[in-house]
């Protein structure tokens, strides 16, 4: 099946993707691009779960179900985050994180 691809390749790929997401999370100012970086991070974790499941425990399905639940949580998180972003835009007319610096109280 996966002849010739060691598990390390998958893990290194997921690591690079994860830290690209971290870089974006630290440097971006726009709320939507920060959300996109978080999606990158969640995806790289999914790759890790599936590679571990397929290579180290192929007779079980735990990694697959973890990834399924991570995808569901990511969908819920994106929906709530975008609702918050739209609300912030309505109140401040911007979604730049440095200009949104006051809360309700």
């Amino acid at each position: 099946m996966n002849s010739g691809i060691p598990i390390q390749y998958f893990l290194i790929l997921a690591t690079l993707m994860f830290f690209t997401g971290v870089y974006g999370f630290l440097t971006r100012r726009n709320l939507i691009t920060i959300l996109m970086s978080v999606e990158l991070i969640l995806n790289s974790v999914n790759i890790n779960f599936l590679a571990f499941n397929r290579y180290l425990y192929p007779h079980k399905l735990e990694g697959m179900f973890f990834s399924l639940f991570i995808i569901a949580v990511a969908a819920a998180e994106a929906a709530v985050a975008i609702a918050i972003i739209i609300n912030i835009y309505r109140r401040f007319a911007t979604i730049n994180v440095e200009e949104v610096n006051e809360m309700k109280y």
Partner: protein
């Protein structure tokens, strides 16, 4: 060179290049489209690992749902032609150092740890098995996380509606039409 190695190199190159473009692009809509490419190549990796159901979920939920939601909110909140101003070079450099340090540490750890691939026969992942494990209460069952995730999704839907709802409607005074 086996064909699946070529496919792996193709998918991983696409993932790395497009994820770097996602976090560095100056135009926000382009960043969203690059994110779409990353998600589609990730589902290609899932197909390579023989998880067809999860790859389909990735395509429909991530590439179909979340990216559309993100693009929709971009169109609601930003001007398409507007470029970001670059965040200062100091912040960029320190973030790059932090990310590189973390990546190098993690890669060194991965390379030093000896993984021993399992020799057990692979479990065939078919839909019947997935459905049964999601609803079973046995040792290999996932009925509790399944129920928790359904409550979470319901709560998220209610929360999204409540948050994005407009506040108490103000009294709108309609201008009277001048009937001349």
């Amino acid at each position: 060179m086996v064909s699946n190695q070529i496919m792996f190199i193709l998918f991983s190159a696409m993932i790395i290049v497009f994820s770097i473009l996602t976090v560095t692009s100056r135009k926000i809509l382009r960043a969203a489209v690059y994110l779409l490419f990353v998600l589609v190549s990730t589902s290609g990796l899932y197909f390579m690992l023989n998880y067809q159901f999860l790859a389909a979920v990735q395509l429909t939920l991530y590439a179909g749902g979340i990216v559309v939601l993100i693009i929709f909110s971009i169109l609601l909140t930003s001007h398409i032609s507007q470029n970001f101003e670059s965040s200062g070079w100091k912040k960029n450099i320190f973030s790059a150092i932090a990310a590189l340090t973390g990546a190098i540490l993690a890669i060194i750890t991965i390379l030093e740890y000896g993984f021993t691939a399992s020799t057990e026969a692979a479990q065939l992942v078919d839909m019947r098995l997935i459905g049964k494990s999601l609803l079973s209460v046995d040792y290999d069952g996932y009925v509790l996380p399944f129920e928790v995730i359904s409550i979470l999704l319901l709560a998220a839907m209610v929360a999204a509606i409540v948050i994005a709802k407009k506040g108490a409607p103000k009294k709108i005074v309609l201008p009277k039409l001048n009937q001349e």
